[in-house]
């Protein structure tokens, strides 16, 4: 094993400067379609195969009636939906272009394929413009400053055997406190953005309940969506919606890496102190609104601790878990080391993280402008800096300018990122999906996380199930894929291989 099977889905902000009236669904479609057009020689695009999807199933054991939720899946409106040769899904969701990484093993791979997504979005805007669309700006962020929020969701594959109640009990305070590591920073306070000031997390003001199924309103700290896209008897896919969109690789790596470690411990029954907060939703907002990290929150048992203290407790538990030999995650030592260094520095002076964490890097720029130009937090220049930090263009996005200047520590290099744009990971079913798309784009009529549907010219379409996230790797099917000269060959070879 190389780490937990994970994936990150990011809804990108989309706008045409000077055209606030432009229809975002149309713009988002133009973005996805322009990129997808480069993948198929015949100009058509593969359809997403929705047959197995059930986003209304709740992990607490029931199904929500469709009318009770606001779940639009876009395909009904003919929205663009593309599968990419790197195994990713690129589509329109709720008026945003959304990029879902392929399934990968471990936090480093998640960071890499997530970063590749930024390049894909940048390239899509260039292609769309060339095809006649206006200059479309894309932002890897989560708020518009006026009340709307859109998500960056992490997905963690877990064994079904772990009771969901344990996840709720032991993960909640972790997700609340981790914002001091994972926050992307935000100018503006409150869900309506009317408050003046800076806060650590983009999403904090939009989480309203502790546990729930919904994702577009009454957003919960722990989301109960139960749609594993795999054998539901064996697996659960934990869908985490509280995270911020991160550009800094340390932020992404530690977000996925530390959360994976907490889940390892929950699965092993190794956590004994749930650190339950008196009011998790209120604590989340208070912690977010205090970039000085001085504020302490109250636990249900009366203890009073700061967010960094809470993270320290998790870090200590994770270290002990690894040192006891119970951890099988090969990334654990590196996660613990980097996480520990981050916590050490947060304790000394949060601004020491200027070279690693998004919220601090952003704050450093904002503080420098406030000082140089005597700006108050209400100044639109500061809000503009916040927004432009997340612009995906490498020549205009402020995070990208920091990275180009060597002012942000990286964990992956540009050559690997370039490969991850077009190549899938070797070690999950994304390998099969991605390589099929790359080799036989015209013969694939539809695909999803758990299937690829071929048209090989016969009377029927052929649906190849990919229900096991760990099968369809390079080891399993690389040889077959290399040897097949057509999709028909491949389907035949797969048939005789099983």
């Amino acid at each position: 094993m190389s780490g937990r099977l994970v994936g990150i889905e990011t809804e990108y902000g989309i706008a045409v400067p000077g055209m606030p009236q432009a229809n975002p669904m149309t713009l988002a479609s133009q973005i996805v379609t322009a990129y997808a057009a480069t993948l198929r020689g015949d100009g058509r695009r593969s359809r997403w195969d929705f047959e197995e999807e059930n986003p209304l199933r709740d992990a607490r054991g029931y199904e929500l009636r469709a009318a009770q939720t606001d779940h639009g899946d876009g395909e009904e409106f003919g929205m663009a939906n593309a599968l990419l040769p790197n195994g990713a899904r690129f589509y329109v969701d709720h008026a945003h272009p959304e990029y879902s990484t392929p399934e990968v093993l471990g936090a480093r791979a998640a960071t890499l394929w997530d970063k590749a997504g930024e390049r894909i979005l940048e390239r899509s805007a260039q292609l769309a413009h060339r095809a006649g669309a206006p200059q479309i700006n894309l932002y890897k962020n989560n708020v518009d400053g006026k009340g709307a929020s859109y998500g960056t969701h992490e997905n963690y594959l877990m064994p079904r055997a772990t009771p969901f109640s344990d996840i709720v009990r032991y993960l909640t305070t972790f997700l609340v406190s981790r914002i001091v590591v994972t926050g992307a920073g935000r100018v503006g306070l409150g869900s309506d953005g009317r408050g003046h000031g800076y806060q650590i997390s983009q999403r904090a003001d939009y989480m309203e309940v502790e546990v729930g199924l919904e994702t577009t309103l009454r957003r919960p700290i722990i989301n109960t969506r139960d749609e594993p896209h795999a054998d539901a008897a064996r697996y659960r896919r934990l869908h985490v919606i509280i995270g911020d969109a991160n550009l800094a690789e340390f932020s992404t790596f530690l977000k996925v890496g530390s959360t994976s470690l907490i889940l390892d411990m929950i699965e092993a029954g190794a956590l004994t102190d749930d650190l339950a907060l008196d009011n998790p939703v209120a604590a989340l907002r208070s912690i977010s609104h205090d970039p000085s990290l001085v504020l302490r929150v109250t636990l249900r048992d009366g203890r009073v601790m700061g967010a960094v203290d809470l993270q320290r407790m998790y870090h200590s538990a994770a270290s002990a878990f690894v040192n006891s030999g119970r951890a099988s995650n090969p990334e654990a030592p590196e996660v613990i080391r980097l996480w520990g260094e981050v916590l050490d520095d947060l304790e000394r002076d949060p601004m020491l993280l200027t070279d690693r964490l998004d919220w601090v890097a952003k704050l450093a720029i904002l503080d420098a402008y406030r000082e140089r130009d005597a700006l108050a937090w209400s100044s639109p220049r500061l809000a503009a800096i916040d927004l432009q930090y997340a612009d995906v263009r490498q020549d205009k996005g402020l995070y990208n300018r920091l990275a180009a200047a060597g002012r942000i520590r990286r964990l992956v290099d540009d050559d690997e990122v370039s490969d991850a744009i077009s190549l899938p990971p070797d070690d999950t079913r994304a390998y099969f999906r991605g390589r099929c798309i790359a080799r036989f784009p015209e013969q694939i009529t539809a695909a999803s996380w758990d299937s690829v549907v071929f048209d090989v010219g016969g009377p029927n379409l052929i649906r190849v199930p990919t229900g096991d996230p760990f099968r369809g790797t390079r080891e399993h099917v690389g040889g077959l894929l290399d040897a097949a000269t057509s999709a028909g060959d491949l389907v035949e070879a797969l048939g005789s291989a099983t």
Partner: protein
């Protein structure tokens, strides 16, 4: 940090307080040095950012309106 054994407990306490104060000072000046280094040449950075920032900040920010997502 070294601790000196001494028969005189109050001077030991004072010396170890001083040692602690010294270390704390070292640590905090280390921190200051590191922060200063991170902010090195921040003027040049701001100049560069000035060059790429959208021009009319107020318009830019006001016109950035999104539909809510997940």
């Amino acid at each position: 940090m070294s601790t000196q054994e001494s028969g005189n407990s109050s001077s030991h306490a004072r010396r170890s307080d001083e040692a602690t104060a010294e270390v704390t000072e070292e640590v905090s000046s280390d921190v200051q040095d590191r922060v200063a280094k991170l902010n090195d040449d921040v003027d040049a950075l701001l100049d560069e950012i000035d060059g790429v920032l959208e021009e009319n900040a107020e318009e830019f920010v006001k016109s950035y309106v999104q539909k809510g997502g997940q």
